[in-house]
Structure formats: structure tokens, C-alpha cells
Symmetry: C2
Subunit: 708 residues, 2 copies
């Protein structure tokens, strides 16, 4: 019998009975919890327990970045008429379109914790470096994309600017890590730079969303004009935006781009190619690293290369970054301006951008179709299913810029990507979810406002939509009394990122397929993690996640006992090691100064620990490797270095005592296998998790016995 299934069955039965006693439904009482409670994994769920779930083989999560209900309506009005419908977006969640398909529509809350990206609130280490922790105990009603993405990717509420770390900087396992641990194929598709927040939450754990590469946001070009591309150029660019201790050079787990390679999704498609021109510790470009590690790489502009992609798996994952930055939008920008009757007389019609990759057959719909084909033909995908996220990124970016046409074209792209998916998937085994990370600034108003900028659009049905953009904090547009504006009374489309504000309203989530009804009613963004996790049978609670590391092993690559392969820490994102000599003196240890210090786990793969600099003699050593999330550790006791006589003084491992031969190896010490349980602040959930922990503990013992 499959132990995971048995465990799940027990848990389900337990939760079902808990439901009868009234534990299900709204997890939170009428009065909301405090920030101190909400920072715990799972604490912000509005629907506790495992209700409304059905198992899905595959899940596709579509994210319209910044796609609140207003943005959806703006785009529908323009593209299809006020009474029209999106072909894809409006079909998801719509009952009765497909007989027997489970559907759901509802609203979810999107708040975050900590103050808005205010670094002054972050704890610093003794050198004045940020430590990646943000313990300020406040709730932030308006989230950014990184905190919101972390919410659905990990189930944990965190601060704006955080990528899959909690408010104290601790990495939280994300859906791709968990899906890989469950043997599934995985994909990550976006129109943004692949290092941008929404895709990043499936790739990495970072205290700063701007930590794109080891050199921050340097684009890998010759900035100092000396004819060479080297680290001096990064300094010249002056864009260092990583927590110092997170960098590999400082003993950390590395930047978002580097972790993307460690996470190793089967399929990754988007923009941000230029950041892979950055240099790793050995001076190689990250593109080179990707190739060296088996990735099929497609670079900016190589649409043919994209089209030719025919297979993707863990041996040959796809990394296709078709633009240097964010990908070009479908429509040329419109410019919002001050109140002006001429706009009503001549409403704007959007024009197609020549640079839009859709003109060459590389739209978001094309990416999505390709990703689905690659994933379902992948062996893991065939056998175990897949998890795919698709982001329409520039709805947000163009809303920031008060660019109505830009946001509409991107919504159209997302809609067509959903249609492309619907034409390929079977909704009886695939759960498709469509939602956003947060709502945004655009408002459909009766007439042009006097304070805000506005655009009047000519809708498909001939009517006009008047859109107001009035949430800017600073007068970048020269519209107010502040005289610092660089453009008089209109939005400046040349700005990469405008300054209109995200909004904090609850917004739409819709789903079709097994488990879809779980998005009904009022939920929270973090519930989406559980909806997807439950549908795919992933380890959604800390106890289950810790279990994923119980098969961890450490094994020397050969008889030299200098380089070690670490596997099975599937419930961990970060590892620490300690190498001691025979007297117990530490010879080498991973950095431990921040939660992002240590070795990044190669998710569901092999993490290599090279200690050849330290294990040089035939002396006896012992090595301990500990998973920072699971708390599980593997110790190899009393093994000899490369010059030791083979067979004598061989590795002593626990529990596999008596292993007398090289190479040295060890497994998790079963006696200490239960790592620290995640605390949870939700009272109701706490009760459930406590019960789950007991069950999980019992099952684990059983599992251990049956295996050994």
C-alpha cells in the first residue's frame, strides 16, 4: 500500500469528522487575527480543513498580474463589448458550460504583512546588512506581487518584497518544490522577466524581490566601457539589490536566477534573458551554467528556437527567455491625460505593437500551448501529472503606467492563453484556476475625472469606457500642484514602471475542474495554496513537508570521500553542513548567519557538496548535513579522507552503523526524524494540525518499519 495515500486517507477521514464538529467553514472568527498570528504557515486560511477537494492529475494556475475585477471589465468592454464575454477567462468557473465539470467562482483577500517594502523596518546584521527578516507586527492591506505570490505559492503570509520567505526570512516551500517532490512535471510561464515576483515565487527564496542575479539587476553588458564584461561592470551599473548573505559568494543560497536553475522546473518560458548574462562565482555567465547543467536554452528573439522545442524533462529542462526584459505588450501604449472633452469626441482605439511576439507565433497563448504539450509528454507528466503557472504580467505593469491599451492587450493575451489551455486539457482530470495577485488602479467612471488622469476608449460595441487613473502617490505626471512632474498632465509611457497604486480590494478567483468548488465563497489568497496542494496531493502542512525529507541521504561521489551527493531532502529548501575532525573540531561549516545562508537544495534532485578543500588527508572526519526546514539531519561518522587506506577507517554512519566500505554515506537518523513542526496561529487549524501531527507521527513510524 502506498503510504502517502494511506496517510492522506487517514487525514481526510479525520478532517471529515472534524467537519461534523463544526471545524470547517470560515477558519477565522468574525474578528481578524493579528499580524503575529497571521505570519504562521496556513494561518490566514479562511477555509480550514480539506473540504471541496477532488484529486486532479494536473493543475494550471493562470495569474493576471494586477487583474482585479475592474481590469477584467475594462478589457471585456473594449475587446468584446460591455455585454460580451471572454472566450477563455469568462469560461473558467462558469457553470453548465461543460457537463459534469466542477466549477467555482468567488472572491479572495490579498493582504500582506509588514510595512510596504520599507527596508528601514528590516532587521540588519552586525555589518549593517539586511537579514531578510521583517518582524514589524503590522498587517498591510495592499499587497505587492511578491508577497501575494508567496501567499499562494507557499500558504504563508509575508511582507511586500518577500519571495517565499516568511516575515522572519525563513524559506517556505513552494508549489513547484512540492510538486517535484511528488514526482510531477512542472512549468512556469510568464510575459514578465522570469525573475519578476510572480514567476520568482516558484523558483526561489529571496528576502528581496530585486535580487534577480548575483549582480542584482545588472544586464550583463559592458557598463564601464573597458571592452570587457566582468564584475567591474556590475559595480559600474551599481545595481546591487540582494541581501548580501543570500549571495553564494557570501555563503548564501544565491539569487533568484541561480535558484531557478536549482529548482529546475521542466519548462520555464518568459523574458529577462539579459540577467542570465550575469556572472557566477567562477566567472561563467548564468546562461553557461544553464547549459552546463543540461538546460535547453532559448534566448531573446529566438522564436524559431522556441518553436522547435519538442521535449522537456529533468534531464533536459527548457529555459526559454524570449526577451531581454519584460516581453512587448500586444498593444501600443495609450497615454492617460487630464480632463479634456476632445477625448470623448475621439475615443481611443488601441493599435497592435509591431514588437509583440504574438506576431511571430510566440504569444502567451503559444507559450501556454507549448508548455502543456511539453509537460504532458514528459514521463513525470504522463505518469503523475503536472503543475503549470501562467502569468499575464503586464496588466499590472501597464496599469502602473496608466496605460489602458497596454493593460487590455495583456488581458487579451491571458484570455487567449486560457482558451489555448482549454482546447488541450481534459477538465475531468485537470484543475484550471484563474485569478490575480492583487487588484489595481483603473476605474471605469461615468465621465472624465478632474483630479485623476483618464483615457476614453471606444468599445467593441461602439460605446465608450472612461477609465480613471488617480492613485499615484507622487506627481510624476505633472497633474497636481507638485511641480516635479516631468510630463505635463499626462502619463509618461516611457517609464518602465509608473507609480499608480495597487489596490487592496478582494477580487475574483474562478476555477474549473476537480477541486474547483473550493474557490467558492470568500477565501484568502493563501487558501489557493491549499486548493492546489490538495488537488495534486501535495504536502501542504509542515508535518507533511518535513516527512518529505525522511529519505534524505548523503553519499560520497567516489572513494575519495571529498565530494558528496545529497539527495532526498525534498522537504527542504536550504541545507547546512558541518565537517569535523576526529577531535570534534569544526573544519568547515556552511554559513548560518541568516535563514538564506547555506546550500540551496536542488529540488528533488542531487545537491553536491564539495569539501575537497577541507578533506585533504587520510584523517578521520565526520559530516552532518541538516535540512533547515525539516530539521532532519544525516550524519556520517568517522570516515577517512582520500589518502586513507580503503576499507579501514571507513565511514561510520547512523543509523547504518557498520558501513565499512568507501564511499562514505549516511541516511537520516531515524531516531530524530521528526523535524520541528511548524507553529500555526490559527486556532482551529491548530487543532487540526495537532491531530495531523499525531497521525503523521504514527504513520511515519509505520513507514519506517515497513521500509527497513
Amino acid at each position: 500500500m502506498n503510504t502517502r495515500k494511506a496517510l492522506k486517507g487517514t487525514v481526510a477521514a479525520l478532517v471529515a469528522s472534524a467537519t461534523l464538529f463544526g471545524f470547517a467553514g470560515l477558519a477565522n472568527a468574525t474578528e481578524g487575527q493579528s499580524a503575529a498570528e497571521l505570519k504562521e504557515h496556513g494561518a490566514a486560511q479562511r477555509i480550514a480543513g480539506i473540504y471541496g477537494n477532488t484529486t486532479a492529475k494536473n493543475v494550471i494556475l493562470f495569474i493576471g498580474d494586477g487583474m482585479g475585477d475592474s481590469e477584467i471589465t475594462v478589457a471585456r468592454n473594449y475587446l468584446h463589448g460591455v455585454n460580451g464575454s471572454f472566450d477563455g477567462l469568462d469560461k473558467i468557473g462558469q457553470p453548465n458550460l461543460n457537463k459534469g465539470v466542477e466549477t467555482g467562482t468567488g472572491q479572495y483577500t490579498t493582504f500582506s504583512l509588514g510595512n510596504n517594502s520599507n527596508d528601514s523596518l528590516m532587521a540588519k546584521d552586525k555589518n549593517g546588512q539586511l537579514t531578510g527578516s521583517k518582524t514589524a507586527g503590522v498587517i498591510t492591506p495592499v499587497t505587492d506581487s511578491s508577497a501575494s505570490g508567496s501567499g499562494w505559492a507557499t500558504g504563508t503570509k509575508t511582507y511586500n518584497n518577500a519571495v517565499d520567505v516568511d516575515v522572519e526570512g525563513n524559506p517556505q516551500l513552494n508549489l513547484i518544490e512540492l510538486a517535484k517532490a511528488a514526482g510531477k512535471a512542472t512549468g512556469n510561464v510568464t510575459t514578465a522577466e522570469i525573475q519578476d515576483a510572480t514567476p520568482a515565487v516558484l523558483e526561489s527564496h529571496s528576502s528581496e524581490r530585486a535580487c534577480y542575479g548575483p549582480q542584482g539587476k545588472w544586464d550583463g553588458t559592458d557598463k564601464n566601457g573597458d571592452g570587457k564584461v566582468d564584475l567591474e561592470d556590475a559595480k559600474a551599473a551599481g545595481i546591487g539589490s540582494c541581501l548580501a548573505n543570500q549571495l553564494k559568494a557570501n555563503g548564501g543560497i544565491g539569487s533568484i536566477s541561480e535558484q531557478l536553475l536549482d529548482t529546475r522546473a521542466d519548462v520555464t518560458i518568459g523574458g529577462g534573458a539579459k540577467y542570465f548574462n550575469q556572472l557566477d562565482q567562477s566567472g561563467k555567465t548564468l546562461w553557461q551554467d544553464a547549459s552546463d547543467r543540461g538546460f535547453q536554452t532559448v534566448k531573446s528573439g529566438d522564436v524559431d528556437g522556441f518553436k522547435k522545442l519538442a521535449a522537456a524533462d529533468q534531464n533536459k529542462p527548457v529555459l526559454a527567455l524570449l526577451g531581454d526584459g519584460n516581453l512587448p505588450t500586444q498593444f501600443n501604449p495609450s497615454v492617460a491625460t487630464k480632463q479634456d472633452p476632445a477625448k470623448d469626441a475621439n475615443p481611443t482605439e488601441c493599435s497592435v505593437n509591431d514588437k509583440w511576439l504574438g506576431k511571430q507565433g510566440a504569444s502567451l497563448a503559444d507559450f501556454t500551448g507549448k508548455a502543456i504539450d511539453l509537460l504532458r509528454n514528459n514521463k513525470n507528466g504522463k505518469d503523475n501529472g503536472y503543475f503549470l503557472q501562467v502569468e499575464g504580467a503586464s496588466i499590472d505593469k501597464q496599469d502602473h503606467n496608466a496605460n489602458a491599451c497596454g493593460q487590455i492587450g495583456e488581458t487579451d493575451d491571458l484570455d487567449k492563453a486560457i482558451s489555448a489551455a482549454l482546447s488541450k486539457v481534459d477538465l475531468s482530470n485537470t484543475l484550471v484556476i484563474v485569478t490575480a495577485d492583487h487588484a489595481h488602479t483603473s476605474q471605469i467612471v461615468e465621465s472624465q475625472p478632474i483630479y485623476a488622469l483618464s483615457t476614453v476608449l471606444k468599445n467593441r460595441d461602439g460605446s465608450k469606457t472612461t477609465i480613471s487613473y488617480g492613485t499615484s502617490e507622487e506627481d510624476l505626471y505633472g497633474n497636481g500642484s507638485d511641480t516635479s512632474g516631468d510630463v505635463e498632465g499626462k502619463a509618461d509611457p516611457s517609464k518602465a514602471q509608473g507609480n499608480m497604486s495597487h489596490t487592496g480590494t478582494q477580487l475574483r478567483i474562478a476555477a474549473s475542474g476537480p477541486g474547483a468548488s473550493r474557490v467558492d465563497g470568500l477565501t484568502d489568497q493563501t487558501d489557493n495554496f491549499y486548493t492546489i496542494g490538495h488537488a495534486l496531493g501535495l504536502a501542504t502542512d509542515k508535518a507533511g513537508q518535513n516527512e518529505l525529507s525522511k529519505g534524505a541521504e548523503v553519499k560520497a561521489q567516489d572513494n575519495k570521500n571529498q565530494v558528496f551527493d545529497i539527495t532526498g531532502f525534498n522537504g527542504d529548501a536550504v541545507l547546512r553542513y558541518e565537517l569535523k575532525d576526529k577531535d570534534g573540531k569544526v573544519v568547515s561549516a556552511s554559513d548560518a548567519s541568516t535563514p538564506l545562508s547555506g546550500l540551496r537544495v536542488q529540488t528533488a534532485g542531487t545537491t553536491v557538496l564539495d569539501l575537497s578543500k577541507f578533506i585533504t588527508s587520510d584523517a578521520q572526519y565526520s559530516l552532518t548535513v541538516t535540512g533547515q526546514q525539516s530539521g532532519k539531519s544525516v550524519e556520517i561518522k568517522s570516515f577517512n579522507g582520500p589518502n586513507g587506506t580503503e576499507g579501514s577507517g571507513s565511514a561510520q554512519v547512523t543509523p547504518n552503523a557498520g558501513n565499512n566500505s568507501k564511499p562514505a554515506s549516511g541516511k537520516v537518523n531515524e531516531a530524530s526524524q521528526n523535524g520541528p513542526l511548524g507553529k500555526t496561529g490559527a486556532t482551529v487549524l491548530g487543532v487540526l494540525l495537532f491531530a495531523l501531527a499525531l497521525v503523521a507521527g504514527g504513520m511515519a513510524v509505520k513507514f519506517a518499519r515497513s521500509r527497513n
Copy 2:
């Protein structure tokens, strides 16, 4: 066998089979329809057919006026914390809170037709008076409360400013009229003036929402200071805002207040008492009219009178108007101001308004509880169920004023009204729906905007919500470069109605109880008419509505044949009559110059036609009464006036030919019983309605035979 039920069964079977052939689901294709198509009854439905319906005995519709998702979130953040929940509002539609209760949550579109309240587009008659028609063929993305209310009350899209008339000014039957025709008890509760748009759509048919009374918006006081209250005061007040031909004095069906008395809901509770001080044609106040017609009246400030109300039915309906205007809000107003760091340092906390009626036990929750008690103890309510609408009106009004505390307190009132209802009703036989008529201006933003006004609130959990108000078309607040502002850089709470804008985003609808799942997915506001109508078994299509007038009768009150009781025109809102002499010359006829000319039907009651001025001799007359909506007519041929010899020259009626005795009477001419069918522009719906019409026709013949 109950013929209505048989008809319903056949229709349901027919639709069920149609569903199998793919007719159900999104009625509209991807591209939206034109204004010319959308103006037809039912044309804007997004979910055609009768799917997702279960019969409910009772329906309660809660409307938060202007309560978009942003307004809900603002209030939840403040009142319960960002992670909190409303006790009532968030429970409706929430799955799994009550075992076995059907639930649904989704989004709906709210657009209207015609230009925004722009009278210059309205057709005028030869005297330059508005005719109540607005044929300009445009779609309006942002609705007002009257067009949106007309949408869910009648199923017909119309222009902003219209109350239950289509864009051509034709009355459309509303839910209270149809519920009364089905023998149900009815109620209408609001915190607004009872003549305001949202309650008005259940009381009246009016081309102008401001047509509060026969003297427009005159408050019934001595305006010219002559010590008398008479029509000269109305002239002095100068507030005439009715389509002239709609006034009774001009042969029309009368103002909103007058029609309220004709509609005669069992329970009506709200504000707007002062408008009942207006004078009817005979010089009596409308309050006196109400008393004369059997209403139990409770006037402004008489909370004890409200509390003592113990029963309500068609003999003694309740008209309780507890305030002269809109009822006081729960919280004192907050004032939105320009960007100012002091607001972040000292966030606003709302204070309770001493004038709030909730302090005396007359909150919206108290109204709701009272209305439910009265309706369920009413004989019709007991036997056949009830329909009740409850409006939280000032969310909208205070949002217009940029008054955050005002809008929040009103949302709290609505939430508590929902809780009060949930504590009384049985969700296994009562459908409770919560939604809004349109979204509104307030936005939760990251930080204070520079152009817009803003308020920073201290939330229940200690966090801060920053609300932006930036959609004003005119600079009433002195915030922009326009110098006409009367208040420098802040909202003016003294304004009865501010000028922030409604918004056109899709918004939340949620439901619990039989039929609730019909609000899932993306629907339109007009779908709500069908959701409620189907649940209560009302006549939702034109053919069914026409059938409601097939039992119409006209009968003289006594042997004088001068005054006639008209009954059974339950599928009509307006009647016309024509009195001819024996030579076929018209002696008297109702005005027919506009669709609102004629006699207002006393819904499901007796409409009295007094022809004593015209039938004065013993000569022979003939009288025809025609329902303007159903097209059905009753003719009484060749009857004698009061001085005619009894028994000779008696009334000749069709079809009851041979009626030789006084009093004269007539019934619907069966041969012409099928009135004009409503056209429908929705292709799919057209197919269904065509089928329904055939079935209805067949059933009607059967029904006629079984009765006669």
C-alpha cells in the same frame, strides 16, 4: 391539478432537454450585443434557460447600494480587521457553513443603456415635455441605481434615470407586482427615502427617478410663507421633476409615492416621510391617502409606532417612514482631504452618530427583523411565501461624499440586517441574496494619493487602510486647478450628495438557499430577476406575464353602471379605457400620449374607474379596458347608464354575451387573449422563448377550457 405548476413542469422539462442540446450556459456569444438588441426584456441575461433553480418559498434580496468589492473590503478591514469576516455578509454564499444549504458566489455586470441621465437625448412631445423615452442606441458602462434596480426588478436593461420602464418608456413588470400576482406577501425596506431609486423599482414605473410625488421633490412645507400649505408652495419650491404626462393631473399613472400606494406591498419601511406631505389631485396629503386606503402609517421619528407594528397584510399594509429624508447613518462623517502625513500618524476612528435610529432600536437590522416577522405571519406569507428587498442605501450616498465612516457604518448596518435575517429564516426554503447595484469610487491604496482626496483609517486589527477618492468630475472640493471649489482640499460632508462617481466594474453577488447556485460564475444584473423569479415561480417571461391578465374582469360597482371595479389585470401596470356612446362616438378615454399615461393598476387588487361624469343618462354605452402590457382587453357592450330601466338595454359583454342584468360586467375576450409577445434580442433565449410561447399558448387554451 394546479395549472401553473403543470405549466412550469412542462417548461422545465422543455428547458432541460434544450440544455442537453447545448442551449444553456452563456447566452451571449463572445461578442456582446448592441444596445438595440439589449433593450429587449431578458436580452442581457448571461445565463439563459432555467438552470440551477430550486423552488424557494421565500426570497430576501439584500442590496448594498454602491457596495462594490472595494467597499466591502474597506468596511471589513475597519470593522473586523483585514483578516476578519462579516458575521452576516460574508456568510451568505459561503459553502459548508450550513450542511445541505445550497450556496453560490460570482460576479455580475451592471451596465445600462442610453446616455447618463442626459435629458437632452430624451424624446419630447409636441409641448416640449419629455415623453419618457430614450432611444439613443448606446450602451452605458456605468449604471445609476435606477437603471440597475430596474434591471434586477424587471429583467430589462434601461437608461440611467429610468424606474421600471424600458428605453422606450414602456413599463416593465417588477418583482413585487409579479410576487403579488402569485399570491405572495411582499416587503420593501431601505435606509433611504422610500422614493429613492432602489426601493422605487419595486413600487413604480417612472421615466424620471426624481418624480417622488405629484409635486416632485417638494417637502410639503409652507415655502411661500403665506401660512398655508398648498400647491403654491410646491411652485415656490420649484422642484417639479416628473414627466408631465405621468402626473395624474395630466391623465398619467402618477408619481412614485402615489404608485407606492397602488402597488401596496404588505410592508414598506424606510425614510422619505416628508414627501408624503405632498398633495394629491383632491388636495389631500398622500399620508391621508395612505390612511384612507387602509395603510397603517408610521411617520418620521415615531420609533414606538414602528415597534408596535404587529401585523401587516393587504387589508392593513404597513407604511413606516421613520425619517423625513434618508435615515441618519450609524457613524458620523469622516472628511477626506488632500495628501497629508498627519493622517498616517493619526488615523481616523469613526464615532457613532447620536441621530442613528439604531440607538433607539430602529436600525436596518430591526427593520429587517420586523419585516420578516410581519411577512411570515401574514396569511399570504404563510401559505405562499414572501419576497422582501432590504437596501443599505447610504454606502452609495456617503461614497459620493468621500465619507469613509459613513459608508462603513452603513455596510455594518447591512451586515447586521443580514445576520438578523439569518437568525430568523430557514435556508432550506428561503433564498437569501446579497449584492449591490453598482460599484463605487473608494479604493484601498498603498499610500495617500497626490491628486485624489483620501482618508486613512485605523482598522480593528491596528493596521491602517488608506482610501482614495479621486473620481469626481467637478472640483467641488477645491482640490484641483479649478477654483470653483467651495471647500479647500477636502470633502464637504454638508453636501447631500457628493460627486464622486459610481464605477462600472463587475461586482460580487452571493446567495444561500434554494436556487443560490444560479449566481455562480459570471452573470448580469438582469439574471438576478430570473434567479428570484424562477425560485419563487413567478412569471418571468412576457408570455407568462401576459397570461396573468387572462382572468381580467370589469364590473360596475352597483346598478348605476357609472363606477367600475377592474380586477385581474395582474400582468399589467397600466390600463387604458375607452367609453363610447351607442353611435360609437368616444365619450371619454384615458390619455394615451405616453406609455405612462392611463390608469395605474392596483397590483393584484381592484382598480376603480369612475365614469360618473360621463355616464349620466340612460343612454347605451360601451366600455373597453385594455391592459397596456398584456394587450388583453375587456369590453362591456351596450349597457345603460344610471337612469336606464333595469333589465332592459343591459350590458352586453364579450365573451359573456347575453348578460342582461345590472350591474354591467365583462371579462377578457378569450379570442384575443394572447397579448403581444415581448420581442427578445438574445438569439439563444429567442429559441427558448419561442418554445415557451408555444407551450404557454397550448397550456393557456387548456387552462381556458378547464375554467369555463
